[in-house]
C-alpha cells in the first residue's frame, strides 16, 4: 500500500511538471493551429540556459527563471514574427515541416556548441524529506508547486487581462478578431513568446533532475502529443489532467512492472496515445481539434 501511495505521489509530482511542460505546445496548437515539433528543443534550450547560469554565476535553476523566461519569450516572439507568421496561413504541413527543421537545427547547433556530453546542475537540496510516511523529493516537489503557480498565473492572465482575452478571441475566431482591429500577427507573436517562455521554464526546472544534452528534447515533444490528446488543446486544466495521467501511468508502470524501470517512459506515452486515439479519439476533454473548430 505504501508503495502504491508513494508511486501515486511521484506520479502526481511528475504530472505537475508535465502539465507546465505541455502548455506551450498545447496553446500554440490550439491558438494558431501549429504543431510545434521543436517544442522539446525549446525545453532543452531552457535547461542549457539554467545550466550555463548555474555554472557561470552559481545561480539556482529556480532563480534563473527570471532570466530564462524573458530570454525565451524573446526567442518565441521573434520565431513567430520572423518565421511562423509567414507560413501560418499555408497548409498545415508547411508549418509542421518548418518546426521540424527548426528542431533539427537547434539540436545540432547545440551539439556543435556544447558537444553531446551530458551536463548536470547539482543543486545542494537535491534530497528528500519524509512526511506522513511518504518521501517527498525536494526538487520535484518544488517543481510541482512552481508549475501549479505558473498555470494559475497563466489562467488569470488569459481570463482577466485584455491581452489574454485577445489571445482567446484570436483562438476562437481569427477573422472576427482581425476585423475588430486585433493585430493577429502581433497576438500570435506574443502567444508564441509566452508559450516558449513557459517551455524554457520547464526545461530550467528540469535541469537539476535530469542530464542535459542536445538531443534530450524529442521525447518531450512526443509526450506533449500524448498529454494534449488526453487534455485537449490550449486548456490549462486539461494540460494538468493529461500531465497527471501520463505521470502516474509512467510511474505506476515503472514501479509495478518488473524489469522496466523508468526507461520506457516514452513507450508508455506512446501506448497511451495509441489507446486514446483508438478508444476515444475526441480526447478526454476536447481532444485534438483546434480551438476555433471546437467553438
Amino acid at each position: 500500500m505504501d508503495k502504491l501511495l508513494q508511486a501515486l505521489l511521484n506520479g502526481l509530482l511528475l504530472g505537475g511538471f508535465y502539465g507546465v511542460m505541455v502548455l506551450g505546445f498545447s496553446i500554440i496548437w490550439g491558438v494558431m493551429g501549429v504543431i510545434n515539433l521543436a517544442h522539446g528543443e525549446f525545453l532543452m534550450m531552457g535547461a542549457y540556459m539554467a545550466w550555463a547560469l548555474f555554472r557561470a554565476f552559481g545561480l539556482d535553476p529556480f532563480a534563473s527563471l527570471v532570466i530564462v523566461m524573458p530570454v525565451m519569450f524573446i526567442v518565441g516572439y521573434l520565431l513567430q514574427r520572423l518565421i511562423l507568421n509567414r507560413v501560418i496561413e499555408r497548409p498545415h504541413l508547411m508549418a509542421l515541416l518548418v518546426t521540424f527543421g527548426i528542431s533539427i537545427s537547434i539540436a545540432n547547433i547545440y551539439k556543435v556548441v556544447y558537444t553531446a556530453s551530458p551536463r548536470n546542475v547539482p543543486v545542494s537540496y537535491n534530497g528528500s524529506v519524509e512526511l506522513f510516511g511518504l518521501t517527498f523529493p525536494i526538487v520535484k516537489t518544488l517543481v510541482f508547486f512552481v508549475a501549479l503557480s505558473m498555470m494559475f498565473i497563466l489562467h488569470l492572465f488569459l481570463q482577466r487581462t485584455r491581452l489574454g482575452k485577445s489571445i482567446r478571441a484570436a483562438a476562437q475566431n481569427k477573422n472576427a478578431a482581425r476585423i475588430v482591429g486585433i493585430e493577429i500577427d502581433r497576438v500570435y507573436a506574443i502567444t508564441a513568446g509566452i508559450c516558449i517562455a513557459l517551455t524554457g521554464a520547464a526545461g530550467a526546472m528540469l535541469s537539476p533532475t535530469q542530464a542535459i544534452f542536445p538531443f534530450m528534447g524529442a521525447p518531450f515533444t512526443l509526450k506533449a502529443f500524448t498529454i494534449t490528446a488526453l487534455g485537449g488543446l490550449g486548456r490549462i486544466p486539461g494540460a494538468l489532467l493529461g500531465g497527471i495521467i501520463l505521470g502516474m501511468t509512467e510511474v505506476l508502470v515503472a514501479t509495478f512492472v518488473p524489469g522496466i524501470g523508468t526507461n520506457l517512459g516514452v513507450a508508455v506515452s506512446f501506448v497511451l496515445l495509441v489507446v486514446m486515439l483508438i478508444v476515444r479519439p475526441q480526447g478526454l476533454l476536447s481532444g485534438l481539434r483546434p480551438m476555433e473548430e471546437v467553438e
Binding site: 485584455r162 482575452k165 485577445s166 475566431n173 482581425r178 467553438e295
Partner: protein
C-alpha cells in the same frame, strides 16, 4: 444627411478563385451617412466583395479607397481601426466569452502598448459597451455566454460588436438571416436610428428585398461577379435584367 463625402470607393475590384472571377471589375461607392444595399442571387459574389472591401481577401485587380486613403494593400486590422466595421454571413461571436466580454474585445489594440493591454478595460470603453447593449436591448444578457444566446440575439450582439469601435461605415452581411420577423423590424429600426442620429453609413448585403427597399437609398446588384445594375430600390425592382437574374424570366 450630408452625402457629399465619399467614404468607400471600390474601383474595378476583381477577385479570382482559380480561373473563376468571383468578383469581376466591380465599381462601388458609399458616401457618408448613406445606407446602400448590395443584392444578387446566391453565388453572385456579394460576400466575396465584402471580404475584398474589408481586406480579409487580397484583390487581384483594382483599387479600394476608404476615407481618402488607398487601402488596397492594407491589413484588416488597419482598416478596422480606420473606421470600417463588418459582420459576417455566418455569425462570428466568441461563444465562450460573455456578452460584455464580446463587446469589450471589439475595441482592443487601438494604439495601446503591451503593458497597457495587461490592464483592465477603460471605464469609458465599458460604459460604451453597456450603452450599446442597452440600445440593442441585450442588457439583461450582459453576463450570459454568447454561445447560450439565440440566433437573433447573437446577430444583434455581432452588430453591437461591429459598432463598438465607433465606425464610420458598417458592412452588414445578411443581418436578417435566420432572424424572426419581430427582430428583423428591431434591426431595421436600429440601423435607421444609428444612421439618422449618429450618421453611420451602412452597406447591406440582403436577400430580404423589403428590408432593402425600406432602408436603402441606392442599391447595387451583382450577378456572376459583375455589376448588373445600380439605382434606387424602385429602379432596381423594375429593372428587367435584375428580374431575369433573380427569376430567370
Amino acid at each position: 444627411m450630408n452625402h457629399s463625402v465619399e467614404l468607400l470607393r471600390g474601383e474595378h475590384v476583381t477577385k479570382y478563385f482559380g480561373g473563376l472571377a468571383a468578383v469581376d471589375g466591380v465599381d462601388i461607392v458609399v458616401r457618408s451617412g448613406e445606407i446602400v444595399g448590395l443584392i444578387g442571387p446566391n453565388g453572385s459574389g456579394k460576400t466575396t466583395l465584402f471580404n475584398c472591401l474589408s481586406r480579409l481577401l487580397p484583390i487581384d485587380n483594382g483599387r479600394i479607397v476608404f476615407k481618402g486613403h488607398d487601402i488596397t494593400n492594407a491589413r484588416p486590422y488597419q482598416v478596422a481601426r480606420m473606421g470600417l466595421s463588418r459582420t459576417f454571413q455566418v455569425i462570428r461571436v466568441y461563444r465562450k466569452m460573455t456578452v460584455l466580454e464580446n463587446m469589450l474585445i471589439s475595441r482592443q489594440w487601438r494604439g495601446e502598448t503591451l503593458w497597457g493591454m495587461l490592464k483592465p478595460s477603460h471605464p469609458a470603453t465599458e460604459r460604451r459597451a453597456r450603452e450599446l447593449l442597452d440600445f440593442l436591448k441585450l442588457s439583461h444578457l450582459i453576463d450570459e455566454y454568447a454561445g447560450n444566446l439565440s440566433g437573433g440575439q447573437r446577430r444583434l450582439l455581432e452588430i453591437g460588436m461591429a459598432l463598438m469601435p465607433d465606425p464610420d461605415l458598417v458592412l452588414l452581411d445578411e443581418a436578417t438571416s435566420g432572424v424572426n420577423p419581430t427582430l428583423i423590424e428591431e434591426i431595421k429600426d436600429h440601423i435607421r436610428e444609428l444612421n439618422r442620429e449618429q450618421g453611420k453609413a451602412f452597406l447591406l448585403i440582403e436577400h430580404n428585398i423589403n428590408f432593402i427597399a425600406d432602408l436603402c437609398e441606392r442599391v447595387y446588384v451583382l450577378n456572376y461577379g459583375k455589376l448588373l445594375a445600380h439605382g434606387t430600390p424602385q429602379e432596381i425592382m423594375e429593372n428587367e435584367a435584375v428580374i431575369e437574374a433573380y427569376f430567370g424570366a
